[in-house]
Amino acid sequence: MVDAENYLVQPEKPFTATQRRRIRRNRLRFAKTDCVDILCTINKIQNKTKNNPEQGHIAVIENNKQEYKVEDALRSVVIKDFDESILQKMSSNEIPPKSRDEIKAARQAKKAAKLKVNNKTTENPQLTKEIENLNENNINSKPKVESTDEVDKSVVINPNAVDISTSREQIKADRAAKKSAKQLKKKGAADGESNVQSSVKKELKEDDSVKQNEDMTVKDVVETLKNIVSVAKEVNEITTKQEETGKSKAELRAERRAKQEAQRAAKQAAEKKVVKPKLEAPTVNVDVPKKEEKVIKSKTLEKSKTKLQLAQRFNWFQHLYTEFDKNPLKKIPINSNLHPAIVKLGVQLSSRVVKGSNARCIALLDALNKMVRDYVLPAKTEFSRGLESHLASSLEFLWTTREPCASQINAVKFFRHHLAQLPNNVDEFDAKKTLQEEIDRYIREQIEMAGEAISIAVRNKISNGDTILTYGCSSLIEQILCEAWEAGLQFRTLVVGSRVSPDAAEMLRRLCARGLPCTYVDFTAVNYVMKTVSKVVLGAGALLANGAVVSAAGTAGVALAARARNRPVLVACHTHKFIDSLYTDAFMHNQIGDPDDLLEKSDDNSPLKDWRSNLNLTPLNLTYDVTPPCLITAVVTELAILPCTSAPVVLRFKLSEYGV
C-alpha cells in the first residue's frame, strides 16, 4: 500500500510527512487486523501491478481504488467490544508465525516465477527503473526517525535485506502487533486514542524508513520471524499484567526506554556493571549526604531510585528506607516466568489493596497454590528442587513489593517444610496434590478454625454492660466482636483511630453494618475515654519471643493508656503469627509507609503540602510499633489464654507439631 500511495502521489504533489501519517493512521485505526487477509489482498494488488507494468499508474490507481474498497469494508466493521477486538488481535498475533511461514514459502516460489517473468519483459524497463529510483529516493529523502517505542525497537528490521513482498507483510504484521500492544497498554486510559495516534505516528515514521528491499535471505526471514514472535510474547505478557492506569505517556515511554536499555545492556554483555550517577545531595545539610552506588546485574531485579532526597530521610531509620517504588511491574525482567497470580499479588501488596496479616497470609497461600497447580516441571529436574527455585524467584519479587509480615514468613516456612519432605522420586501430580492439600489445611486449621476458637475464648471474657475498646482494623477482632454481639451479649464498642490510616474508619463501618453500637474516637482522646472502658482488645501482626506484640503504629500507646488506668488488655493472636525473633523497640524492624499519608488530604492549605521542597522537613510514617509485654494482661490464642511471657512455650509447641 505504501508503494501504491507513492506511485499515486509522487508525480502530482508531494504529501507532507504529517499528511501521510494522518492518512495511514486513519486507515489503520479501524482496520480489522486479520493480517493474512490484508496480506493476501495486498499481494494480489502487487501481483497485478507487477504483471502489468505497462499500465503503471493507471493500474495502480485502479488497484488503489480496489484497495480503498477493501479498506472501507474493513472500516465498516464496527468494533463494539473493545476487549473482543483486542482478543481477536491477540489470537491473530498468535496465529501468524505458522501461517506466515507457509505464505512466505508460497510467495517465495511466486516471487521466483515473477522475477523470471519480469526479467523476460523488456517492454518497460524504464518504468521499472523509474519505480526503483523513486523508491530509493524515498528511502534517501526521508530521514530515518528512530522510533522510541520499545516495541518498534525490538522489531529489528534490516532495511537492506528484506524483499518487497515479505517486507510489506512484515510491516503489516509489525504494525498490527505494535498497534495491539499499544492498544492494550492504553486500555482504560482516557488518552487512549491520542496514544494510539502517537503510536501510529511512531510506527509510520519507522515504516517510512523501511522501503522496498531486495535480496532477502532465509536467515533474515528467520530473524524477522523471531522478532515477531518476541513481540507477540511481549504483547501476551502485557495483557496479563495490570498496569497502573492514569500514567502519563511520558512516564510510560520512559519506562519502556528504561526496560529497553536494560535489555540492551543484558544482551551486549554477559554481565556488566553499571554505576549509576551518584545522587546529588544539596549543599546545605545537617547530615552527611551518603553516596549510593547501585550495581545492576543482568539477572537480578532492577531497583529504582527512591523518590525522597537523602536529606529528607530520618537519620535513625536509614536502614529502613527501601527503594520504595510504587510500580513493582517495572522490576520484572521481560523474560521472567513469574506466575501471573504472583505478579497480581505483588501489585496488590504494593498498592495496599491487600492488607492485614491474615489477608496477606491467605492471599500469599492462594497465589502459591496457583503457582503449584500451574507449575511445569522442566525436564530432568527433581520436583522439589525445581519448585523450590521457582518459589525463591517468586518470593524475591514479592518481597520487593512489600516486606513480608510474620504470618507470611511462617506460611512460607511451612510450605518449604512440606516441599522438602516430599520423597525424591515423587510423581508430579501427587506432589502437587499433596502440596495443595497442605496449603488448604493450613488455611483451614491455622487461620479459620483458630479464629473461631479465639472468638469463643474472648467471648467468655466479655460480660454484659461492658465497653470494649479496640484500635485500628483487625479482621479477627471484627469477627470476635460481631460473633459476641450475635450471641446476645450486650456491650458497646469504642474504635480508636488515627488520622494517618483509614483502617479504623473501615473497622467502624464494618461493625456498624452488623448492628453493633460503636463510637469512634481519635487517638488523641484515648486517655480521656479510658475511664469509661472496661476492657481493651487488640489485634496483633506478630508476637515476638519475649511476648512483645508487633502491631499497627499506635497500639502501644493505647496499651499504655489502658495500663495507666488498670484496664485489662487482651491481645487476640493466632499461633501462626508467633515468631522466633526478639526485639524490644520499633526501630530495628519496621516499615516506612508513604510520607504523603501524613498530609491532610482535604486541606488544600496544609503546611505539609510542599514538604518535598523543604529540606528541613522530614515526614516519617512508620507502619508498626512494638508493645512491651508488661503492658499486656493476656494473649488469647486458639490453644489457651496465656500470659505474654509464655510465647516461647507456644513456639516450642508449634515447632514440634509443624516443624516450623
Partner: protein
C-alpha cells in the same frame, strides 16, 4: 449413684481426716466412686465422675481446689485407658493410676515444705494469711531443723481460720502472733518475707486465696517484701481472670449463697485473685517456679 451419697462420703472424709485439704478429700471421694459404683463402660464411668464432682461442688466447701484437683485427676487417669481388652482391666488401670496420683499428692506437701525450708533463715519474721496446711507443715519442718523465726498471722475474717492456725503453730513451738486483717499495712515494715498458701493457681501465674490476700500482696509490693506462695501442683487451674470481677461466681461464694438467689453484689466473697505481678515465687512439688512458668507447666499438663 446419687448425689447425696457422694456428698456424704466427701463430708465424712473431711471430718475424719483433719489434715486433709478439700482438694485431696475430693480426689479420695472420686476414687471411692470408681471402686464402689460398678459400671460397664468407660463412658458411664466418665459420667459418674462428672456427677460426683458436681455434687461435691455443692457441698459448701471452697470449690477452687475441688474443681482443679478433680480435673487433673480425671486427666491423669484417663490418660492411659485406651487399648485395653476389657472394661474391668481398664477400670483396674484407672484405679491404679488414681492411687498413684493420690500418693503423689500426699507426698506433695512434704516436698513443698522442704523447699521452703531454705528460705526461712534464722531470725527472720514471716507474715502469713489465714490457715494453710502447707505453710503449717513448712514451719513445723523449720522448727524441727532448729531454726528460729517469728510468725505473724492474720485473723482472717469471716471464719477466723487464722485463729486455728495460730493455735496449731503455738502447739508446734513456733513464736506466733495473731494480728488483725487491717493491721497488715502496719506490720509489713517489720517482716522479712510473706509466706502464703493458695486455694488455686491460675494460668496467668496469679493465685486465688482467702479474701485479704490481694491487699497483703499490694502492701508487700509497696514495701518491697518478697511474697512466696506454697502450693501443690494439683491446684493449677486453667482459668485466666482479668480482674476481681472476672473470677467465677462458684469460687467466690458458697453454693448455698448462690442457690438462695440473694443479690451477690451485697455478699462477701470468700476468695480474691492476686495477680502474678505481686508474687515473687511459687513453691510447688514440680519445683520452685516464677509466676510466668506456671503457664508453661500447665501447658505441659494439659496439652
Amino acid at each position: 449413684m446419687k448425689k447425696e451419697e457422694v456428698q456424704a462420703i466427701f463430708m465424712k472424709i473431711l471430718r475424719e481426716e483433719e489434715d486433709v485439704s478439700a482438694g485431696v478429700a475430693a480426689i479420695k471421694t472420686l476414687l471411692t466412686v470408681i471402686e464402689n459404683y460398678k459400671v460397664s463402660t468407660v463412658r458411664e464411668l466418665d459420667l459418674n465422675l462428672q456427677l460426683a464432682v458436681d455434687a461435691m461442688r455443692h457441698c459448701d466447701q471452697p470449690v477452687t481446689a475441688i474443681s482443679s484437683g478433680c480435673e487433673l485427676f480425671m486427666r491423669f487417669i484417663t490418660f492411659a485407658k485406651l487399648d485395653t481388652k476389657s472394661f474391668e482391666e481398664c477400670e483396674k488401670i484407672m484405679l491404679q493410676r488414681g492411687n498413684i496420683f493420690l500418693d503423689k499428692l500426699l507426698e506433695a506437701r512434704g516436698k513443698v515444705a522442704k523447699q521452703a525450708l531454705s528460705f526461712i533463715c534464722d531470725g527472720c519474721k514471716i507474715l502469713t494469711h489465714s490457715r494453710s496446711r502447707v505453710v503449717l507443715q513448712a514451719m513445723i519442718e523449720a522448727i524441727k531443723a532448729n531454726k528460729r523465726f517469728e510468725v505473724f498471722i492474720t485473723v482472717s475474717a469471716p471464719d477466723n481460720s487464722g485463729e486455728m492456725m495460730h493455735k496449731q503453730l503455738v502447739a508446734a513451738g513456733v513464736d506466733a502472733t495473731l494480728i488483725l486483717d487491717s493491721a497488715v499495712g502496719y506490720v509489713m515494715e517489720q517482716v522479712d518475707i510473706v509466706m502464703i498458701g493458695a486455694e488455686g493457681v491460675t494460668e496467668s501465674g496469679g493465685i486465688i486465696n482467702k479474701i485479704g490476700t490481694y491487699s497483703l500482696g499490694i502492701a508487700a509490693l509497696e514495701l518491697k517484701k518478697p511474697v512466696y506462695v506454697l502450693t501443690e501442683s494439683f491446684k493449677f487451674s486453667r482459668i485466666y481472670p482479668l480482674n476481681q470481677m472476672d473470677l467465677p461466681k462458684e469460687f467466690k461464694y458458697l453454693s448455698n449463697t448462690l442457690k438462695s438467689g440473694k443479690d451477690l453484689s451485697k455478699q462477701h466473697p470468700l476468695v480474691d485473685y492476686t495477680p502474678p505481678s505481686y508474687i515473687t515465687l511459687l513453691f510447688t512439688d514440680l519445683g520452685i517456679l516464677t509466676p510466668s512458668a506456671v503457664s508453661d507447666e500447665l501447658i505441659k499438663l494439659y496439652l
